[in-house]
Symmetry: C2
Subunit: 338 residues, 2 copies
DNA sequence: CTGTTAGCGCTTTCAG
DNA sequence: CTGAAAGCGCTAACAG
């Protein structure tokens, strides 16, 4: 009453059909190279025995697994789940599978995941990197596995990157807010230890500066990119009654922020303007619809997949000329701004 | 200018350290069984050479990959991405990785994915099945790979199932709608070819019947579970001006439906009540907040992962006594109902 | 057209 | 404490 049956293999099929394993292999992969009667015989045995191919042998032999590893923060963020969707669908078309890893931006988890992905011999790795495992990533590259960074630049790492122009887009969006008449904008930033966090904050402050507005430290609050931090930082921001607009650095913090505003009966857009990075589905269906800076997430995933597959197949892994693809994020002004 | 360097292996380390490969293997996995000087020697060589372990050999030898396959509809649905998150995190704690496959509920894609997951020798498969690949799934089980269905029952398949009481929950929710005074409820159903679609529709109609309401065919529209179908079906529903409430069978159709209502200036909850299956994050942050039937998604994923891992490790794959775990979905009444 | 054999990288007896 | 050798499942080169 243990396993229903032992796993069948090519050797057993060969034994039953009274041929060599090579012939069975050919019958499976190059049937035209096998005499019709032999083929029939073998196919019968395969049929009867429920044999299914085991690709581990081949993977070992060819050192190719047709598997790509993805390390990102969390599927909880639409941003990443959309990217993952783009990667998976694109990779699938080229016969690659995806091993999905959530790092929660924890360097130790990330380290383990990098290690295990290599050990499982993925053909390539796509990663939204923290900045704490540079040596390991380099080592993986040295072992012939290409790496593509997504969403965040990894300074000091020679690899392809698929990015969005965080700083410029934030700068432009902030400028628009100012043009609309907002003068006291509260900014909910991600940690500056994250590449995107730092870039967006810079874009924000330099837009204020260039427009002759002073930068009030009280107007800048730091969250951890997750929901709760959006709530608490918003509570702090609204202690300043003059704040007329809130600008969130990511979707989850926006969710928390909106809840805080709602709990405090602050109406959007009449009492408070609202803008956030990321374009989760809910933003266009909420009431009022939320203005956003939308990143081409699915496309980023698709491009990352194509990029890594190109590296895999070209076998040029030296990164003398790393690709840096920067896509444009575009502001979509809906009904949360006056 | 090709690959930076050939992948290192245990044999090469052995050669350089002037020991046998067995000793290198021991140095890596059972260092206490190796003399200190030898160990040091080997570790030096490993260090110098950037050697990293290749687990393919081991996988082949032990026929264990520490990898679980997941086949589901799409990450686009919060429902599934939350389940995936639950699976991944739970599996990770037990040293399993996740290969993620989006089937879009297309039987042909599903078939290929099942095949490839087996070929890659995943230790187990978690699947939200269409109902078109029964024989293949059985064959996979026969080959010793346990399968756990999630979200949907697969009639005729002996396997573990992690489910939600779709019918009862829909019945209860419908009863509540009626108790609140709604008499003309429009229902946006998923295809009845989906287990959940059929169950929810049944729950809905039998609640109407048991409450003495007649079932008007015009009030029941069928979508395909994706956004656009929620929009178009809603347009049809609101041709019936007496409809006082819309009840959606899933989150994406709800999104489309809300947009249609908004585009037609129909106010929730004053002009139209609104209820949907699934509890995406946006439901509690939109305005008005949307009443939902919430499934314990993360938990479903966690339980599915635990269930499949238990099967994997117990090696009892006969499914004489398949597990059927049914969790309760609970209605959360927010502000979209009067 | 078919069979024999080597070998992918690793662990694990079994000897020494 | 260390080494030799078998073997996991498969393909491909070579021989017949």
């Amino acid at each position: 009453m243990k396993k229903i049956s032992k796993k069948m293999n090519i050797t057993e099929i060969a034994r039953r059909a009274n041929v060599s394993i090579a012939t069975v292999s050919r019958a499976i992969n190059n049937p035209e190279k096998v005499r019709k009667e032999t083929l029939q015989l073998i196919q019968n045995e395969i049929e009867k025995s429920n044999y299914m191919k085991n690709s581990l042998g081949l993977q070992l032999r060819t050192n190719k697994t047709y598997t790509i590893g993805l390390i990102h923060t969390s599927l909880e963020m639409n941003f990443y789940s959309q990217i993952a969707q783009g990667i998976e669908e694109t990779a699938r078309k080229q016969h690659y599978n995806l091993i999905l890893c959530n790092s929660a931006d924890d360097p130790e988890i990330e380290e383990k995941q990098l290690q295990i992905l290599f050990e499982k011999q993925v053909d390539g790795i796509i990663i939204a990197p923290t900045k704490y495992n540079l040596e390991l990533i380099k080592k993986i590259q040295l072992n012939g596995v290409p790496v593509c960074c997504i969403d965040r630049i990894y300074t000091g790492l020679k690899s392809d990157h698929v990015l969005v122009d965080n700083k410029i887009s934030t700068y432009e969006a902030t400028t628009k807010l100012i043009a609309k008449g907002y003068r006291h904008i509260g900014f909910i930033s991600a940690p500056t230890s994250l590449f995107t966090g730092a870039q967006r904050l810079e874009g924000f402050t330099s837009a204020l500066r260039d427009n002759g507005l002073q930068i009030d430290e009280d107007y800048i609050q730091f969250g951890d990119t997750f929901i709760d931090s959006g709530y608490t930082t918003t509570i702090k921001l609204i202690q300043n009654p003059e704040i007329d607009c809130i600008f969130c650095a990511n979707e989850l913090m926006a969710l928390g922020s909106l809840k805080a505003l709602n709990d405090n009966n602050i109406l959007i857009p009449t009492q408070m303007g609202f803008l956030t990075w990321d374009n989760p589905p809910w933003a266009q269906f909420s009431n009022p619809q939320i203005s956003v800076i939308a990143q081409p997430t699915y496309e980023m995933g698709a491009i990352a997949a194509e990029t890594i597959i190109r590296r895999i197949t070209s076998e040029i892994h030296t990164y003398e000329e790393p690709l840096e693809i920067t896509l444009h994020a575009k502001m979509i002004d809906r009904s949360s701004l006056c």
